[in-house]
Subunit: 124 residues, 2 copies
């Protein structure tokens, strides 16, 4: 019996307008992204909405993190066109033990739109 | 007796060339930044070098983090001109309990060059 990889978190910026003029009362692109990612029920992934990940000029934005892992922030995400690539990138991240997916193995959008990464607490 | 604020970490990307052509063997701007920040011996701050924070197009880069705090990533730092502002911004971050320094109270460079922020583990 092999053990499943541990649960990871996908933090999604729900306040992001993705540079669009969003009417009052209309759902923001970041909120749509969070809702759609949650609806994908990715195995071992907790999807959490966050108000502002401070990457407003390059949204929509998500961050992947988990115990003992590097945290990765990805930007310029489209809540419709990029869903499949995001799901793939998250699964690859979860399949590692330290969050380090080799660059060539990341979905193209993740390769081109990594905003920042932060090492696990253990390195400091 | 009042208790000192807890220790925080300042992670500095040491591999950053800040867009410059750095000769082999020459110290990189990111490494200079780490060295100079460490030499400032900021109270309650541990300065840690990290190889690549993946903000290469907008370096030099540092990340501030601590238990129960929001993590903030700042970019476009100059290892000479921005040292005083960085020291000020770090002190203000440390003086909070949650890492949230009101926008108006941040040094101008921090206001204009926040790359991303990530919530503390506790929110998820």
């Amino acid at each position: 019996m092999t053990e499943d990889p541990p649960q990871i978190e996908c933090l999604v910026c729900t306040s992001c307008r993705r540079g669009l003029a969003v009417s009052e009362g209309e759902e923001r692109p970041g909120s749509v992204l969070r809702r759609r990612l949650a609806a994908m029920t990715l195995e071992g992934v907790r999807v959490t909405g966050v108000e502002c990940l401070s990457n407003c000029d390059h949204g929509c934005t998500l961050a992947l993190r988990g115990p003992g892992r590097w945290t990765y922030v990805y930007g310029r995400l489209d809540e419709t066109a990029d869903l499949a690539a995001i799901g793939d990138g998250i699964a690859r991240y979860r399949a590692t033990t330290d969050g380090l997916v080799p660059w060539r193995e990341r979905p193209e959008h993740f390769r081109k739109n990594c905003i920042a990464r932060i090492p696990p607490l253990e390195i400091a």
